[in-house]
Symmetry: C2
Subunit: 146 residues, 2 copies
């Protein structure tokens, strides 16, 4: 069940190139977040000649257009994944298998109150990221990395 990404690209005034479609399909297939390099390696199986800069550029464009989300991993690298949730939410990241799960929880109101009333400041954005082990990795006793 591959979604039709053409209208999505069109809405961002991006041309529908095979590489953009392939990258979106790769992210759509994965339930884990991927590094640009991992995406590049998957792309190389589909295109005999594709540069890493192309992957970076496409990721930037799609992230810019809010089609894909990215995670700032504790290892200081950026990881990307396709996020289908429109509403505001946060991420649970399994440090063992890299799976991302959306958490429909947000402490927005508490934060807003603390910052506005407590500090007389203003909230521009907030990041809530939970690192842990998903149910599968937990039961399988896979050693966590990081």
């Amino acid at each position: 069940m591959k979604p039709d990404f053409q209208p999505l690209l069109k809405s961002l005034s991006l041309k529908t190139t095979p590489k953009r479609i392939a990258l979106l399909e790769i992210l759509d297939d994965e339930k884990v977040y991927l590094s640009p390099e991992a995406i590049w390696k998957k792309m190389q199986k589909l295109f005999r000649s594709i540069g890493l800069p192309t992957v970076y550029r496409i990721l930037d464009e799609l992230h810019e257009g809010n089609i894909i989300s990215r995670v700032l991993h504790p290892d200081r690298k950026l990881y990307y994944y396709l996020c289908r949730n429109e509403e505001h939410h946060h991420h649970f990241i399994c440090v063992s298998c890299n799976k991302v799960e959306d958490l429909h929880f947000c402490a927005e109101k508490e934060i807003e109150t603390l910052v506005v009333k407590g500090m007389k400041g203003k909230v521009l954005s907030h990041i809530l990221q939970i690192n842990g082990l998903c149910s599968r990795c937990l039961t399988e006793q896979v050693p966590a990395h990081g």
Copy 2:
């Protein structure tokens, strides 16, 4: 009022070198988080010859020993600051002046419940970072960067 950092270093089995003391004093003076390079520049005023790798190494050691905290900035660089709070807390970061304020708020319980009961997973760590404008920058209408 400079604290005596010697026993602190000793407790980590780190030798009390002028550079380690100076770095701690620089961080103690600042109420903002600093990049390794910014710290290096301040160090260069005190030591005619100091390498950037030395700054990185000292920062790593102190961070390892839980003496200093670090922030993973949206610009993907690491910033460091001296954190005097022992208890678990989170950070408000002013994107205009880089000041860090501790927020004594934590959604730990809600997160725990969601992950354990909802996902049957396990929480290893969590990051809550609030980016905004502090009261001073807000009233001064300083344009925010980032």
